[in-house]
Every structure is written in C-alpha cells, then in structure tokens.
C-alpha cells in the first residue's frame, strides 16, 4: 500500500511538472501579452512594465523563475489586479468557491443517488420516468438558463431568496442549486443504469430468495456495487466544482475563483493563468488519487497493490 502510494505521488509530481511546462509555453505562444491594450502605451512605459514584472528576461529564465515560484508557492503578482498577488487571489477566491462547490456537491451526490436508486427500483414505472425527466432536463438545460430561471422565480417573482451577491446562507442556495443540477442528473443516470444491472445479478436474487427486505438488499448489497462508476466520476467532478464555475459565479455575483480561470486568459494575465492552472491540477491529481483509494473502501475486491503482477 505504502509503496503504491509513493509511486503514485511520484507520478503526480511528474504530471504536475508536465502541466506547468506545457501551460507556460502554450501561454507564451498565444499572440498578445498582458500589456497589449486598446490604448497602446509609449514604448518606454511598456519596457518599464516588462522590467517590473520580469517579462524582459530570456524565456528560459522566466521559465525557471516560474518553476521556482511554484515550488515555493509564491505565484507572483497579478498584472491586471495590480493590488493583489496570485496567492491572495487564490486564498480569497478558493474558500468561497469551495463552500459553494461543497454544497452543490452534497446536493448532487445525495440527490443524484436517491433519484437513480428510485428510478432503478421502480424501473419503467412513473417514478422512473419522472426521475429520468428531471435528469434529462438537468443535463440538457445549460447552467446559465437554469440560473436565470431560478432568479426570475425565486427572487423576482416570489421574493424568497436574494438575486445575487454573497453575504450569508440564503445567498448560497440558488447558486448551489444551479451548480448541482448537471452533476446531479449525471449521477442519477449513472446510478440508475448500474443499479438496474446489479439488481439483475444472481447474488441479489439469492438475497431475495433468502427473504431479505428490499431495503436491506438495496442498501447493503446493491448500492455499493452500483456506486463504483459514480466514484470514478466524482474525482474530476470534485476538482471542477470546488475550484469554481465561471458562469454560475458570474450570474450570482459570487466572489469565487471561477472567473480567474477564464478572465486571466482573456487578460493574458500570465501569473494568474499559471497560478490557477497549477492549483487546479494539484486538486485534480489529488482527487484522482483519493478516488483510487476510495475504491478499496467500497469494494473490497479491489486491492491497491502493484506487486509485480503485470
């Protein structure tokens, strides 16, 4: 187990290094720079700006400086938001995005599994159809439409919840619902199809023949098996959802991290592009590792070992 983890961590570091390198060079290859602007400034000012942010150094020095920054977790100043550093932007934005993401995730996982299980148990009955209609809607209606829809009914028409901003629990409800819709639908469909398959298997029939209660069969025997694909999907989902969603955060005025991923690229804010990419990658690779470990907890048949059996 420990050997396995050690190996995985080394692979994680290698992938991070490759991600940093690829991002750095692709980013530099994109035309335009942080100081390209509508009002082109005189050359001496551009030179002063480049000197201030060390963009005048040769490419390889910039690259090594950057690698050093990543290792020491000093990601540098933002070019666009002159009064903030990238570290500050991440430490301000991530807790907000993570809070919103965690709420959405809880909704998505529990809501999705419950819908999926109900649909599978009542296969081809009205419960199945209504659950799947909800799932199809959740998957096919884009987040921004859903968000505007919620705003219109819950805030403007009925005045139940605030339209936007981020000032307390009631402000988190609508964005969480909007953010949860699509993963919830996906999880529901995934759970349903796996449950149907699992419920048809012999060991479930055996359990039934033993006279076990449907509830016990579902919870103790079926769900565990049906959840494996859901767990696979959870790794990238958690990384995605915790680091913020641009559209939802924008519509609800949530001061999260999602906007930085998109706007930093538009602004060619090099340090922020690198910072957010590295941060996201770290969370992603860690989540994937955790998912692999989690398999063993759910399904004892899977063993994490690489004892030379290949």
């Amino acid at each position: 187990m420990i050997r396995y983890l050690g190996k995985r961590i080394i692979f994680m570091l290698i992938s991070l290094f490759l991600i940093v390198t690829a991002t750095f060079f692709i980013m530099k290859a994109v035309p335009g720079g942080p100081f390209t602007s509508e009002k082109n400034v005189p050359d001496e000012i551009k030179a002063a700006l480049e000197a201030k942010y060390k963009l005048n150094l040769p490419m390889h020095e910039q690259y090594f400086n950057y690698l050093k920054g990543v290792v020491t977790w000093d990601l540098g100043p933002s070019f666009t938001e002159k009064s903030s550093t990238v570290n500050e932007m991440i430490s301000r934005g991530f807790p907000v995005s993570a809070h919103l993401g965690a709420q959405a995730l809880l909704l998505a996982i529990f809501g999705g599994i419950i819908l999926g299980v109900i649909a599978a148990l009542k296969h081809n009955k009205w419960q199945d159809y209504s659950a799947m209609v909800i799932a199809v809607l959740g998957l096919s209606v884009p987040g921004f439409i859903l968000a505007s829809f919620y705003q219109y009914f819950f805030s403007i028409k009925w005045g139940l919840l605030p339209i936007a901003k981020w000032e307390g629990f009631e402000y988190t409800i609508l964005p969480s619902l909007a953010l949860a819709a699509s993963p919830m639908a996906f999880i529901a469909r995934l759970t349903r199809s796996n449950m149907i398959e699992v419920l048809g298997q012999d060991y479930i029939k055996t359990a039934r023949a033993k006279g076990l209660h449907t509830m016990t069969i579902t919870i103790k025997h079926a769900i565990r098996n049906a959840l494996l694909p859901v767990i696979t999907y959870l790794g990238p989902l958690i990384a995605n959802i915790l680091t913020g969603a641009f559209v939802i955060e924008r519509i609800f005025g949530v001061p999260g991290l999602g906007r930085e991923f998109v706007l930093s690229i538009t602004n060619r804010d090099y340090t922020v592009i690198m910072g957010t990419t590295v941060f996201y990658s770290i969370i992603l690779v860690v989540m994937i590792l955790i998912v692999d470990v989690a398999y063993t907890l759910v399904d004892p048949r899977i063993k994490l070992a690489d004892a030379g059996r290949e």
């Binding site: 002063a48 403007i156 339209i163 001061p255």
Partner: protein, 552 residues
C-alpha cells in the same frame, strides 16, 4: 401503519411551514419592490412627509477595481473609486469645467509655462495635512520608470516628464517643486491650454508620501487606504463589496450629502438589471457596467433609460498600405456609402450621434462635420474615379475585421450589407479574440478594422495625435501626412486659444481629406437609475463623480 400516518402528518406539517414561509416572504418582498417599479407616483406622495431619507447610495461596481492607487490606475472602475476618494488640484464641476479643489488658487506666468498653486489647508483621511510635497512626490512617483505607471505619459506635459520616464533625465529635473508646504510650482514643456483639466485626471492626484512609503500595498485594502477626497474607504471585501463613507476631513464636506456608498461587484449585466428592478440597486448600466442589449428596447419603451454623449469615437480604420485602400478615393467611397443614422436607429438604439469627423461633440472643432452621412451619389463618383486611378474594373473582395463581440458583429454585418448594396463589393467578416485582434491591428495585418477611442481629457488633441506618426502606437492605419504633423506641432506651441483651435480644425480637415479612418458614431452612455437619486455627475469623458450626489 402507525408509522405511515406519522410520516404523512409530519410531511404535511413541513410542507405547511414551507408554504407559510413562501407567503411571508412574498409579502415582505413587496414593499421593497415598489419604489423601484413605481417611484414616479410614490416620490411626490412621500415628499410632504419630509422625513429625511437615509443618504445611502447603492451602486454596482461591476468588477473588482484592480487598484485604488491613482498613480497606477488605468481603468474606469479604479478611476471611479479614486475620483470618489481623492481630490486633485482641480476637479471637474457640473459645468464640465475644472474648478480649484485641493488647490485654493493659482497663478500662471505670462508665457503660460509656469503655474504656481496655493494648496488649500486640508487633511488626508488619516488626519495628516495635505502638503505640496505630497503632490511633488506623487507626480515623480508616477514618472519613475520603477513604478511602471501605465498612464505616466499623462505627465509628459510637465517639463522633463517624458525624459525622466525614459530614464534620460533625473527625477529631480522634473518641473514640479514644492516651494514650501503650501506652494507648488509646476513648469511645463509647452504652453498647455488644457492643463487645468489634466490636473483633474487621476495620475495628477496627490498621494500621502508617508503612507505610500510605509506600505507598498497601501492601496489594496480599506484599512491602509488614505485619500483626500469626498469619501473614504470603510471596507473592501475583494470581488464582493466595497463601502465608501463620507470623509469628515474633506475640505468641502458641507457639500457632500451622501453618508455612504455601497458597491456590489456583480459582473453579469442581466443580474445587475434584475437587482435594480427589484429595488436592490439604485443604478444599472453605464458608466461602470452596461445595460444588456436585449433589454434596451423595452427599457426605452418605458422611458426609463437616460442617455448622455461621451467623448469617444467609434471608427473603422483602413490599412492605407494595402490595396484597394491605398487609394484615398476608394477610402472615401467606403466612408460616404454607409448610413450611420440608420445604423444607430436600428442596431445601436441608444441615441449615438453619427460621426462625420474624428473629434466628438464635447470638444468639437467643426460642428457641421466634414462630409455628408449616407451620400450615395458622391460615394459612387469616388468609387469610379478611384477604380480608374487604380486601373481596376471591379473591386476585389475585402475583409472587415473586428474583435469577437455581439455588438461589433451586428454593426459589421450591417455595414457589410450596405457596402454590398451600395458599392457592389463583397465583404468578408473576420472576428478575432481581443488581444489577438489588437496585435494584428497594431502590426498592420488587416484591411479594414474596427476600433474605438475615448478621450482622457477634454481636448481634441486626444483624438488627433493618434494619427500623427505613421508608426505611432495607436495609428494602425500606416497613414502619415507632413502637413498634418506640422499643424499638430504648431498647435502645441500656440498659446492663443482661438488660433490653436483653428490650427487643430485645419488638421482635422487634412485627416478627413485623406480619410485613413472612417468615423461611424460618437459614443453615448446609457443607464437606468432610481429617480430619487440626484446630483450624480456624469462627466463628458464618461467618468462618474458622486461628490454632489444625494437621495431625495
């Protein structure tokens, strides 16, 4: 069975409370909704009650201001916060003219090269006195190449300002000097008739030397931010909200009526408008944000929209080195053949003004324009003559470029259609991501491309100097005319205002005779506001000043 009944009862109870919650919420929300939707009828009824309304203005800042430091700010969001929290030597008043602000009085030498300002006896928001040294320090700081201020070139009018920024002169040689705590002497490169207006621009604002030197990040947090303006920063939750309160140390505090300005930072324009309509904001749209284009027709119908022209021109640039636009008559044919008024009425819809010159109305040199809008006869004639000069019988297909945006796309499509109809030319549209587009335009990789320009201060030179040098950073057209250059040089040395205006008008005439650019419209700003908000000053440059604002 018992269990089931219990479940039923409890779920009904839960449902009941939930529904009750709905009802309550609905009622509670209603009174809040009303003032926004129905203010016109309510305001007069409320007035006799004569209860003083809380002097709190609720605005949306759209996005996080990148900085609150006047020396390095370069965008309008930062600019608005800085104008509220700082005061320059002058401040633009309701009449759009500069008035003494941090300066109590000033004298100008006969050659108009030396200004001496008497600094008013007033204090920073932290209680320190504002001195002439703070101004000297602020200007030199902005000119220091180490500060890397994007707007340092605004200080190039000051003697040796440009040289100091280029590192060719020492900062000590810059023509700004505090003779004593209350006297500031400024020497200029040339007589600059708009210098008093420039002083109201943020790069000329003072900064508190002690504060800036003590903390490099002073302008990033509310706790350390110090200004000398009508408001001071109470809190700044990054990307979420900012609160400004009245500054009791402000010299003119008796004329500041607002107690508080609360800024949200909601980037989505539709959300902003919904919040306004729900009574959560007093303002939506320009200058910090924009109204959603789809909502404009409805808002216009309800007569809610306010529109104001600002000093900006939307134009298409011709690459004068690439055929067929290396021929002036072809350029003219293209410029004359479009219907600007039609474009404004049908597509833009917010009262823009058709542009038949480069300089916008607020600083206009020739109010009649330099050519006629939608002049098909002249356009056809120019096209024929131009094609003869080029020796071609049919125009090749041309490419019209713009940066990716719904608004620019609609304009480009309309113009594509008009050119096809009026000149019989095939036009290909090409859109590019903003920074890629800018790079291509600056490098001359285009035939016709869109661009806009907003003035930083109220003088035509803002717009004319763009086309002075062929390779000038913002020319892009590769056009150059020695006569034009000469006229602009002359204008810089001329101290007589009327003569200078005539020289600049002659220069604009040269520009329009050669037509390297095709002006389309002059910008306007449009917004909706709570009618009980009064006294918000929108300047002709598109800035907003809340100094005199109040709630009625």
């Amino acid at each position: 069975m018992k269990k089931n009944i219990f479940a039923l009862v409890s779920s009904v109870a839960v449902l009941g409370t939930a529904l009750a919650g709905c009802g309550g919420g609905q009622e509670a929300a209603k009174p809040a909704e009303q003032p926004a939707g129905n203010t016109q009828t309510q305001a007069p009824a409320a007035a006799p009650a004569a209860e003083k309304k809380p002097q709190v203005l609720r605005m949306n800042l759209h996005s996080e201001p990148p900085t609150a430091d006047p020396g390095i700010a370069e965008d309008t969001t930062s600019g608005a916060v800085i104008l509220a929290t700082f005061d320059g030597l002058t401040r633009i008043g309701g009449d759009e003219k500069p008035h003494e602000a941090a300066a109590e009085s000033y004298t100008v030498s006969d050659d108009q090269l030396t200004y001496t300002f008497k600094i008013r006896d007033h204090k920073w928001s932290n209680g320190d006195p504002v001195t002439a040294k703070d101004f000297e320090y602020a200007w030199k700081r902005a000119l220091d190449p180490k500060t890397a201020s994007n707007y340092a070139y605004q200080l190039y009018y000051v003697k040796n300002g440009e040289k100091a920024n280029k590192g060719e002169a020492k900062l000590d040689d810059v023509g700004v000097k505090a003779l004593d705590d209350k006297t500031l002497e400024v020497k200029l490169e040339n007589p600059t008739p708009f210098f008093l207006e420039l002083l109201a621009f943020r790069t000329y604002f003072p900064v508190n030397q002690k504060v800036v030197e003590g903390n490099e990040k002073w302008a990033g947090e509310a706790a350390t931010h110090v200004g000398n303006g009508p408001f001071k920063m109470e809190s700044w939750e990054h990307k979420s909200k900012m609160v400004l309160v009245k500054n009791d140390n402000y010299w003119d505090k008796d004329n500041v009526k607002l107690d508080k300005i609360e800024f949200s930072m909601v980037e989505d324009e539709n959300t902003e408008l919904s919040m306004f309509e729900n009574g959560e904001l007093d303002w939506a749209g320009a200058p910090m944000s924009a109204l959603p284009t789809d909502a404009i027709p409805a808002l216009k119908e309800q007569n809610k929209i306010t529109t104001k022209p600002i000093a900006g021109t939307y134009w298409y640039k011709f690459n004068t080195e690439k055929p067929p636009f290396n021929n002036v008559k072809i350029r003219k044919a293209f410029a004359f053949s479009i219907d600007r008024q039609g474009l404004i009425d049908n597509i833009l819809q917010t009262g823009q003004i058709p542009a038949t010159g480069a300089v916008p109305p607020s600083m206009v040199l020739n109010p009649n324009g330099y050519f006629k809008d939608n002049d098909q006869a002249e356009a056809k004639k120019m096209l024929e003559e131009g094609m003869k000069e080029l020796g071609i019988s049919k125009l090749p297909a041309i490419t019209l470029s713009y940066n990716t945006s719904e608004a620019h796309k609609k304009i480009a499509e309309a113009i594509q259609d008009q050119w096809k109809k009026n000149l019989g030319v095939d036009v290909k549209l090409e859109n590019k991501e903003w920074k890629v587009y800018l790079e291509d335009l600056h490098n001359g990789n285009f035939q016709v491309g869109r661009m806009g320009w907003l003035g930083d201060f109220n003088d035509p030179i803002n717009f004319l100097e763009l086309y002075k040098d062929k390779m000038g950073g913002n020319n892009d057209t590769r056009w150059e005319n020695p006569k034009y250059k000469e006229l602009l040089n002359q204008s810089a040395l001329e101290s007589d205002l009327d003569k200078r205006k005539q020289i600049l008008a002659d220069a604009e005439q040269v520009l329009m005779d050669d037509m390297p650019i095709m002006p389309i419209y002059f910008y306007t700003q449009s917004w909706v506001q709570n009618p009980s908000v009064k006294g918000v000053q929108m300047t002709g440059l598109g800035d907003v000043d809340w100094k005199g604002a109040y709630i009625e």
